[in-house]
């Protein structure tokens, strides 16, 4: 009985304190800065009249999203990185955009951007394929 209790406590403690599926290896400050630079640079490079344009596949409309504040949280998806930033649309309604980034010879490149709900990301988070990097 005592052995089982001790094993549970240890297991709970390990689960409580290890990053495992939910936590990736921590990023250095430089990496985090580089990632932020990369995301902002990508945003700036994609600005059209101060907004990033996005095609709504459901309606076929092109929506303009204006950048507001970058999020500090960084997620990892295997070797790829997912970062977030807040936008507002024309009406001022806030929307969050996810930027999927890959590392290429020391630089980061955004290869996918989603605006608003991201069911794929949610599923991957639920499945444990996405972890917080900081």
């Amino acid at each position: 009985m005592k052995k089982h209790l001790a094993a549970c406590i240890i297991f709970a403690g390990l689960n409580l304190f290890q990053p495992a599926a939910a936590m990736a290896e921590p990023l250095s400050d430089a990496d985090m800065v580089a990632l932020q630079v990369a995301m902002q640079t990508h945003i700036d490079s994609a600005l059209v009249d101060g907004a990033v344009l996005s095609l709504d596949p459901a309606t076929g409309n092109v929506v303009s999203y204006y950048p507001t504040k970058a999020h500090p949280k960084i997620m990892t998806m295997g070797k790829h990185i997912i970062m977030c930033s807040d936008f507002v649309d024309v009406s001022g309604k806030p929307t969050m955009a996810n930027f999927y980034m890959a590392s290429d010879k020391g630089r980061y490149v955004v290869f996918n951007t989603t605006f608003g709900a991201d069911p794929a990301l949610e599923k991957m988070m639920k499945d444990g394929k996405v972890a917080m990097a900081n």
Binding site: A30, V37, T41, I43
Partner: protein, 804 residues
Amino acid sequence: MPHQSPEKTGTTRLLTRFLRLLLPAFLFASSLGLYVLGAFTFGDERSAIVTRIGNLAARTAAAVNKISDHHQASQTESVLSLMLADPAVACGFIADQSGKVIAAAPARVGCAGSQHAAQVDIKLQNPVGATLCVKYNLTELEDRGKLFRIFTLIALLGSLFVAAAASWFSFRVTVGKPVNALLTAIRTTNMLGKPTKVSEAPDDELGSVIHAFNSMQDKLESEARRNADALRRLDYIYNETPALMFSIDAEGVIIHASGHWLDETGYRREDIVGAPLGQFLSAAPGEDFDTIRRTIVEATRPLRDIPFTLARKNGERMEVLMAVVPDIEADQVAKLCVLSDISGLKNAQVELRRQAVTDHLTGLPNRQGLFEHLSTIKHAGPAEAEASALLFIDLDNFKTVNDTLGHAAGDQLLKAAAGRLRNCISRKDCLARLGGDEFAIVLHGLRQPDDALLVADRIIKAFVNPFRIGEANALVGSSIGIAHFSEGENNDDILRLADLAMYQSKQSGKNCVSRYSNDMSARVLSRDIMVRKIRDALNEDRFVFHFQPIVDLETMRPVGMEALLRLNCPNDGLLAPYEIIKAAEETGLIGRITSWGVAEGLSVARNQQSRIADRSRYISINLSPKQITAEFMSELIARLKGNPRVARSMVFEITETALFRQDEDVSGMLADLRATGARIALDDFGTGYSSLGHIHRFPVDIIKLDRSFVGGLGQDNEDARRRRALIKATAALAGELGMAIIAEGIEDNESLGVIRDFGIRYGQGYLFSTPMPANVALDWLDAFDRQAGQDGNVVQLARSKPSK
């Protein structure tokens, strides 16, 4: 019950243990918590800062890319300087492809002082090939981290202190106070021996403990009260019970005594507590006190009835019996001793013993007392026995006095006789009353056997003078038998031999002394044989009557027949009645003989009415004085009433002794008997103390002059002359009183002539006939009747040997 306020007593150790467990845990948990908090907080802070830096650097790069060429230096530096607004940015510069700094912020200084800061490079599009380098550091974060750590340390210490203080206070209030109250109550209970309760109980688990404790104390107090009551009752019972109780320890030392013990003995408690048993008790004679004491001290089970003598304080002694009850308590073995005062019982025993060996009437030793005295002679040795002798004394004629004057007079006579006997002996001799009129004297220190005779002679002389009993004089003699201790084997033997000798004195005419000789035993043996013969005769119906005619001296006709008892013995023939009657009276068989005689006489009278009743004759039967009892007489009277004709042909002869019995209403019974038609004859008149002056009060019809008066009346001597005078007077008075007189023992014509001359009408004796068997007697009557029918003369038979 006193309620104790809780004192500030020892929960320090409990508090210390509590704090020793709590504070390290608190410290660890707090530290861990703060660390984790700090890690998460500063992690987020760091992320926010680097996000800000990256954002700023990227925006700055985007802004520099939009600057036109000719304003590039000043505007670029302006744009770069905007970055410095962020405290995390240390400096920034733009370097061309060759690495030359073309713009910097701070202007002209650039990153000179920030070589060690982190740097992020961003490729620019304008100028082409240029790179924006932004150096940053997280000093603010580190500074804040330091502050955080200091703050957290302070907070930790402060909270530790607060926690400790709060814990200490809370502990004291919630645990210390009630626990101290409990401890105080428990210590007070131990100290005072009285259950003490806690006054306040918090509304928590400790309060439940306190309630339970108080409840337990209530029960303890009730039990203590019950125990105290029981102890008080026990103490009361112990001290007030009227029994002599005390307790001893394992060494036999007295440790406690009841109040009653102290009252009875007169001792004070301090006199006896701590004293040994032997200080107040001594063992019974012949017992060893130490042995008994050891038995008591070592007893593991109750003991009873141990005899002791207890000395009171005033020196008086009590005979007691001790009962011992061991009382084993823990390691102490004590005993409860209870004494029962048997002094009264002992005294009663002594008195009983004394009464058992003392004659109540005279105060002399009785038969048992005599035997005990005789034992001392035996144990004293042969020399003492040789010098000792036993006198057996029987008072002559005592029975007559007793019956005549009454038992009270008889008792006075016995006491007076005892006095005369005592005066005849010395102090060393022993006088005892054996019972009735029998006494015994044990003589000691006889120089020679004849000295016993001298004492006996002295006794006989002492009884010469009559005793004055009331207004009467009673003359009794003493028949004495002497036996010497050398002649007998044991006490019974000596007494028996002396008795035999006394019997010899009786046989020899009384008022004399006889010394035992061997032939006396033979004679006694003869009496025992006689008794056996009588019993056998009664069982085998071998008693018979012989009838002697009673004759009318005028007509010489038989007027009646006296039935005289005979015993038909197979080996010895016909036995004389005197020996039969004497032995029968001595052994109590006379009653059966009388009953037989009455039945037989009535039967003859009933069956021979033609010879008896029809001819106006009677059958005369002797009644023993002892038989004249209410029971016997009522039965006889009933039988006579059933046949009046037979009753009228019966005469019952009684002696003077029967007339003067005091224990029965003889006169009344005789009157009732006479009322049936039977007549009463006074037998052996002249041999007792009665006189006509007494007899006239009794229903007597006939007086039978004793033969001792009648025999030899014709002689010419003083005795005969006196007797003739007495007879003459008696005849005259009897005639006046209407009583008939029968003269017994007429054996010669001279006596017959004298009797006739005195006017005595009837006679009986050998002159007329000897006693005859029934059938012979009846034939005699028939022959008389036949001859009387012819010439009326009496038929004289040849004289035979006297049988009465």
